[in-house]
C-alpha cells in the first residue's frame, strides 16, 4: 500500500501510518477504534461521617464536626461487571477497611487490582486506593491503546507505585502510607498477573495454582529464594520485603502469564482470604457460579474463619479454550 484509500499518500514516503486516520499503510489495517472502558472502585462515596452523621465539608481527611478520620474506602463493597467481580470487607477485628479493590473492562479484556494497606504505616488506605485506582486506570489505558498485557501490567504497577508514593506528601515521616499490589488481566487466551507484596493471584481452572510468590520473608523462604541482607530467616515471618509507598524501592512488579488449558477463573486476594484458605484446589472447588457469588462465598469463608483482617477478593472469568503455559 502506498497511501490511505481515504486520505491519499503520506506526507513523507517512509511514514507507516496515515496522519489523518491512523490507518496502517503497510498492512492496510484501519486504526483501532476507541473501545469502551468501564471501571469500578470500592472507594467510599458516603457524604456523611460514620461516627457522628455530619455531612462532610470539602475533601478534608477529617470530619469537621467530630474530628474522626474520614474513611477512604467502604467497610463492605460488592463490585460486579459480570465478567469480573469483587468483594471487599472490613472483617471482624479491624476498625477500618484498609484494603482497596478496583475492577474494570476495556473491550473484551477484563482487569482487576487489589491493594492491601500496610497496617503499621500511616493512613495505609490512602496508599491502597491511590495505587489500586491509578494502577487499574493505567493498565486499562495501555490495553485500550493496544499494549500487550505483560507491558500493560508493568505500566499499571509503575503508575500505582508513583500514586502510592505521592500520598506521603512533602514530609513522608517514618512510616509513610504503604500497601501491597496485585493486578490481573484476562484476555481471550492469556492470563497475566503482576504483584508487589503479599497479596496473591490464583489460577482456578485446569491445574489450579498460586501464580504469585509472596514478597515476604516466609514467601521467599518457601520459594527457595534468597532473602535481602539483614533479615532473619524466620519461616513464620510474614514481614514484607517489598511494598508500594514513599519508602519503597522502585523495582518493577514481578509478572507472570499463563495460557490456560481451558476455561477457569483468575482470583486476586488480600491475605485476609489466603490466611484462611490458601490451597489452590480448595479455592477452585469454591469457585463455581456467578463471579460475584464466588467473591461473596470466598469472603464469607474468611469471615466465618474469624475475619481477623480486612478481606478482599476479585474474580475474573477466563474463557480460554486451550493452549500451553508460556
Amino acid at each position: 500500500m502506498i497511501g490511505c484509500p481515504d486520505h491519499g499518500p503520506p506526507s513523507e514516503p517512509d511514514h507507516r501510518f496515515c496522519e489523518v486516520c491512523g490507518r496502517n499503510l503497510i498492512t492496510g489495517e484501519p486504526a483501532p477504534q476507541p473501545v469502551a472502558t468501564t471501571r469500578l472502585s470500592s472507594r467510599a462515596a458516603d457524604p456523611t461521617c460514620p461516627s457522628c452523621g455530619t455531612a462532610y465539608a470539602g475533601d478534608e481527611g477529617y470530619c469537621d464536626h467530630c474530628g474522626r478520620r474520614r474513611p477512604v474506602g467502604r467497610d463492605h463493597a460488592d463490585l460486579d461487571l459480570t465478567t469480573v467481580a469483587g468483594v471487599t470487607d472490613r472483617g471482624r477485628r479491624h476498625r477500618r477497611n484498609e484494603d482497596a479493590i478496583a475492577i474494570g473492562r476495556t473491550g473484551d479484556v477484563t482487569a482487576a487490582v487489589v491493594c492491601d494497606g500496610v497496617s503499621t504505616s500511616t493512613h495505609p488506605d490512602t496508599a491502597a486506593y491511590a495505587a489500586a485506582e491509578a494502577g487499574l486506570a493505567a493498565l486499562l489505558a495501555a490495553l485500550a491503546g493496544g499494549t500487550e498485557p505483560t507491558r500493560a501490567t508493568l505500566d499499571g504497577a509503575r503508575a500505582a507505585a508513583a500514586a502510592a508514593r505521592a500520598t506521603a506528601g512533602p514530609d513522608p515521616g517514618d512510616s509513610p502510607p504503604s500497601c501491597t499490589y496485585v493486578s490481573g488481566i484476562v484476555t481471550a487466551d492469556v492470563v497475566t498477573v503482576g504483584w508487589i507484596g503479599d497479596s496473591r493471584a490464583y489460577w482456578l481452572g485446569p491445574d489450579p495454582a498460586c501464580l504469585t510468590v509472596d514478597d515476604s520473608v516466609a514467601g521467599q523462604l518457601a520459594a527457595g529464594r534468597p532473602l535481602p541482607p539483614g533479615l532473619d530467616a524466620d519461616p513464620a515471618s510474614k514481614a514484607l520485603i517489598r511494598w508500594l509507598g514513599a519508602d519503597a524501592d522502585d523495582r518493577d512488579a514481578q509478572v507472570v502469564s499463563l495460557r490456560p488449558a481451558g476455561p477457569g477463573r483468575l482470583l486476586l486476594c488480600s491475605d485476609g482470604l489466603h490466611d484462611y484458605l490458601s490451597d489452590p484446589g480448595a479455592l477452585a472447588a469454591a469457585s463455581s457460579g456467578q463471579l460475584i457469588d464466588v467473591a461473596r462465598r470466598l469472603t464469607a469463608i474468611a469471615l466465618d474463619g474469624g475475619g481477623h483482617d480486612n478481606v478482599t477478593v476479585a474474580v475474573l472469568s477466563s474463557a480460554a479454550s486451550g493452549g500451553t503455559p508460556s
Binding site: 464536626h65 467530630c66 474530628g67 474522626r68 478520620r69 476498625r95
Partner: protein, 429 residues
C-alpha cells in the same frame, strides 16, 4: 513580597488507651524581605511615651538618655508613618506635635519633634494610665494597620489607683501594641508585664540608662518591620473536646487561654498582634473524648489568620495505641516548654513570697527556678536568679535567699521571668 507564614507541629500524637490529653507545640515563622525597602509595607502609626516625672532628673543622665533614645526612635520611623511624642507625669501632654493629633513623619516633622524632645524637663509624678489614655486617643483617629507605642518609665505607678490603670488598659486592649521599658531603680515589673500582656508587646528593664538609645532603636525598627497586622491564632477543636490552655511559649510565655474570641462553636481566635519576620512558639493543650485503640482523630486545627485570610495551618492529631513504646514517648518540645512555663511561674511566685516575707515558700520556689533554668540551659535567667539567691547546688535546686538584694534585681528577674529559650532541634539527617 508579603510575609510568608509557615508552621510546624511538634507533638506525640500517640495516646494510650483511654488517653485524653493532647499537647502540641506549634512553631510559627513569618519570613519576608526588608519591607521598608520594598515600599509596600503596611501603613503604621507610632506613639512614643516618655516618662518626664521628677525622678527622671535624678540622676540627670536618665532624662538625657531618654531624650537621646526618643530622638533615635524618631529617626527610625519610616517616612510617611504617622507619629506623636507624649510626655508623661501625673498627666500626659503632647510634646510633638503640640496639639493632640499625629503627623506623618518627614525630614521636617522629625527635626521639629527632636527639637521639642530636647526641650523636655523632668518634673512631676507618675500615672501611666493617663499616658496610655492619650495614646489611645491619638491612635483612634488613625487608619493605620500597625499601631505601635513605646512606653518608658522610671517609677512605680503611684498617682492613680490600680483600678483606674486597669480600666485604661482594658480600653486600649486590641487598639494598639505597646512595648514598655523600665529604667532606674523604681519601676515595677508587675506593672510593665501587665501592659505587655494586655497590649501584646514586650516588657523589660534597662540596668543602665545608656542602654536606652539602642533599646528604643530596636523597638521602633521592629515596629517598622511589622508586615502583617492583627494576626490571630485560630484553633478549631472537635465536638466534645475542651481547650485546656493556649499559650505563647516563645519568645516569652503569655497565657492566651482567656483571650479567646469565639468564631463559631468549635473555632476560637486568640490575638497575637502584628508580625514581622519572626518566629514564635505556641503550646496548645486539648482534652478529647478517647476513641478505640487504632483510631485516629483530628484534635485541633491550628492556623494563623489576618483580616479573614488564612496565613498557614497545621493539624494536631490524636492516635490511640496499645504500643506503650509509642504512647509513653514524651515530646522534647512539649517537655521543654512545659518546663519554661513552670520556670516563669515559680520565679513570679517565689519573688511574691519573698516580698511577703515567706522565706520558706520563696526558697522552695526560687530553688525550683534555679533547677529548671540550669536544666534547660536558660543562662540569662540563671544569672538573674543568682542575684536574688545564693545557689548552693543548681541541679538539686538548693538555694539560700540573699540577705541584701538591690530592688531592681528582683524587678529585672521578675520582668524577664517570662522570657524563654528554645531547645536546639535535632539536625535532620
Amino acid at each position: 513580597m508579603t510575609a510568608q507564614f509557615s508552621a510546624e507541629v511538634d507533638q506525640n500524637e500517640y495516646l494510650p488507651e483511654g488517653g485524653r490529653v493532647v499537647d502540641a507545640i506549634v512553631t510559627v515563622t513569618a519570613q519576608g524581605g526588608d519591607l521598608r525597602e520594598a515600599g509596600i509595607a503596611p501603613s503604621a502609626a507610632e506613639v512614643i511615651m516618655v516618662d518626664v516625672s521628677g525622678s527622671m532628673g535624678m540622676p540627670a543622665q536618665k532624662i538625657a538618655e531618654a531624650k537621646k533614645a526618643t530622638a533615635i526612635a524618631i529617626d527610625t520611623i519610616r517616612d510617611g508613618v504617622a507619629f506623636a511624642v507624649v510626655a508623661g507625669t501625673t498627666s500626659a501632654y503632647m510634646v510633638y506635635p503640640p496639639d493632640a493629633r499625629m503627623v506623618p513623619a518627614s525630614a521636617q516633622t522629625k527635626a521639629e519633634a527632636k527639637a521639642a524632645v530636647a526641650r523636655l524637663r523632668a518634673d512631676g509624678g507618675t500615672a501611666m494610665g493617663r499616658w496610655l489614655d492619650l495614646a489611645n486617643h491619638l491612635f483612634a483617629s488613625q487608619q493605620a494597620e500597625v499601631k505601635h507605642a513605646i512606653l518608658l518609665t522610671d517609677g512605680q505607678n503611684q498617682h492613680e489607683s490600680p483600678q483606674d490603670f486597669q480600666r485604661v488598659l482594658s480600653a486600649c486592649e486590641g487598639r494598639f501594641v505597646c512595648d514598655s521599658r523600665g529604667v532606674g531603680n523604681d519601676w515595677v515589673a508587675r506593672e510593665l508585664r501587665l501592659i505587655a500582656s494586655t497590649l501584646l508587646g514586650t516588657a523589660d528593664g534597662l540596668e543602665d540608662p545608656a542602654e536606652l538609645p539602642a533599646a528604643f532603636q530596636a523597638m521602633t525598627a521592629a515596629a517598622m518591620g511589622k508586615t502583617v497586622a492583627d494576626v490571630s491564632l485560630r484553633v478549631w477543636t472537635p465536638a466534645g473536646a475542651t481547650i485546656r490552655f493556649v499559650k505563647q511559649v516563645y519568645p516569652q510565655v503569655e497565657d492566651l487561654t482567656g483571650r479567646r474570641a469565639e468564631v463559631s462553636g468549635r473555632i476560637g481566635d486568640y490575638p497575637t498582634g502584628a508580625w514581622g519576620a519572626e518566629s514564635r512558639d505556641y503550646h496548645v493543650s486539648i482534652e478529647v473524648e478517647p476513641d478505640a485503640v487504632g483510631e485516629e482523630m483530628l484534635a485541633a486545627r491550628v492556623s494563623l489568620v489576618s483580616g479573614g485570610q488564612l496565613l498557614t495551618e497545621k493539624l494536631v492529631l490524636a492516635r490511640w495505641t496499645d504500643d506503650t513504646a509509642l504512647s509513653t514517648k514524651i515530646n522534647p518540645q512539649v517537655a521543654h516548654y512545659t518546663g519554661q512555663a513552670e520556670l516563669a511561674a515559680v520565679i513570679q511566685e517565689g519573688l511574691k513570697a519573698r516580698d511577703a516575707g515567706d522565706v520558706e515558700t520563696a526558697t522552695a520556689k526560687l530553688g525550683r527556678a534555679v533547677q529548671l533554668a540550669a536544666a534547660s540551659g536558660h543562662e540569662g535567667t540563671a544569672k538573674l536568679l543568682a542575684r536574688v539567691v545564693d545557689v548552693v547546688d543548681a541541679p538539686t535546686g538548693t538555694v539560700r535567699l540573699k540577705k541584701q538584694v538591690a530592688g531592681v534585681d528582683a524587678e529585672l528577674t521578675n520582668v524577664r521571668s517570662v522570657k524563654t529559650v528554645r531547645v536546639k532541634k535535632k539536625q535532620e539527617g
